[in-house]
């Protein structure tokens, strides 16, 4: 079974990852950001102009809104609906994997 893989572009930092839309939901508030699925570099939006900083002591990327791990249960890769909700649909590519 194939599932859609939504991404912006290949990661300019590590060169091997895909910059994908990560969603974090806390207290019914949805936060969207761009996260490399390989090196975990983060950007605020698909324009990829603004990086989200993380300290070297952090071994996991954290949500800039709630500070929880982006690999936690409250977080997931965005669905097409969520990408539309964020207004980023025309900035992403969709691949069948």
């Amino acid at each position: 079974m194939t599932s859609p893989l939504i991404y912006v572009e290949s990661c300019p930092i590590c060169g091997d990852g895909l910059c994908r839309i990560r969603i974090c939901v806390t207290n019914q508030r949805l936060t969207g950001l761009v996260l490399c699925d390989e090196c975990e570099a983060m950007w605020t939006d698909p324009s990829m102009q603004e990086r989200i900083e993380s300290s070297s002591s952090e071994t996991e990327p954290s949500c800039p809104t709630c500070n929880q791990s982006l690999w936690g249960e409250q977080s997931h890769w965005a669905s097409i609906g969520e990408v539309c909700l964020l207004g980023w649909f025309d900035r992403v590519r969709i691949a069948k994997v």
């Binding site: 990086r51 071994t59 994997v97």
Partner: protein, 270 residues
Amino acid sequence: MVSRKRTDSAINTLRMIPTKWAIVLVVLLIGYVLLQPRINQWLGWNLPSVASLVGDEKPTTKKEPKPTKEVVSKEKTSEKVSGNVAEKTSEKKSEVAQATTTKTANRTSDSGPKDSAPKNSAPKNSAPKDSAPKDSADDRIHGILKDLGRNRFESPEGLVYGPGSEEGHRLKHIERHLEDQPSRPGPHGVFDGDMKEFLVAIDRAFAMANKGAKGSSKKEDEGAVVYEATFEKPIGFLGGSDGKRRKNPALKKMRVVVRGKSVITAFPVQ
């Protein structure tokens, strides 16, 4: 009909014998009836029963061969079944052994060049600590990683592999680079070797980049450090959709992304 005639003739014979001898014969007959099965059982004889002598029942001697054949055939069947099970069990065991020690037997532990042919399978460990092969001598994971506790493992160069990533653990994350993902968009570096060889190569790349060896680099980026080192011979190939389009060229470089001492990811690059 025949048995009734025989019984009548026996009664007529008894009538001709004096009463005293007839009683003795009847007692002996009853004794024989009672003791015949036990004598057969105790002494292993095959005395015929009275019923078979009279003709109402077929002698047991004619019955015996059939059950023996059945037993033999059953034994053969059970041997066949158990043989198949044994064969299948040994096959399964060897499969498990192969899965946990992928390619180790055919390769050296040196992190140097490997065959550049694409590889199709890699071990799928559910949890690094539970399923990764341990060196029985010093209990090291994948033969080189020292257990630091809390599911964290340290390499000889001091790199730490701990919980994290989408897969739940960095070892599981980097394991993705032991097999190709041809349908994945963009490039996907694939290491040509097993997990132990991969970990040794990552350590070597990290050490080379730290020493500033030829063809190596070290770049800091937002709290992470990206190490890169070039090996003398290919260590893997380019996979993913880019690799597929370019016919999976061989790769000599290794890139390692580290945050603090923790490995975030590592993979071969062009």
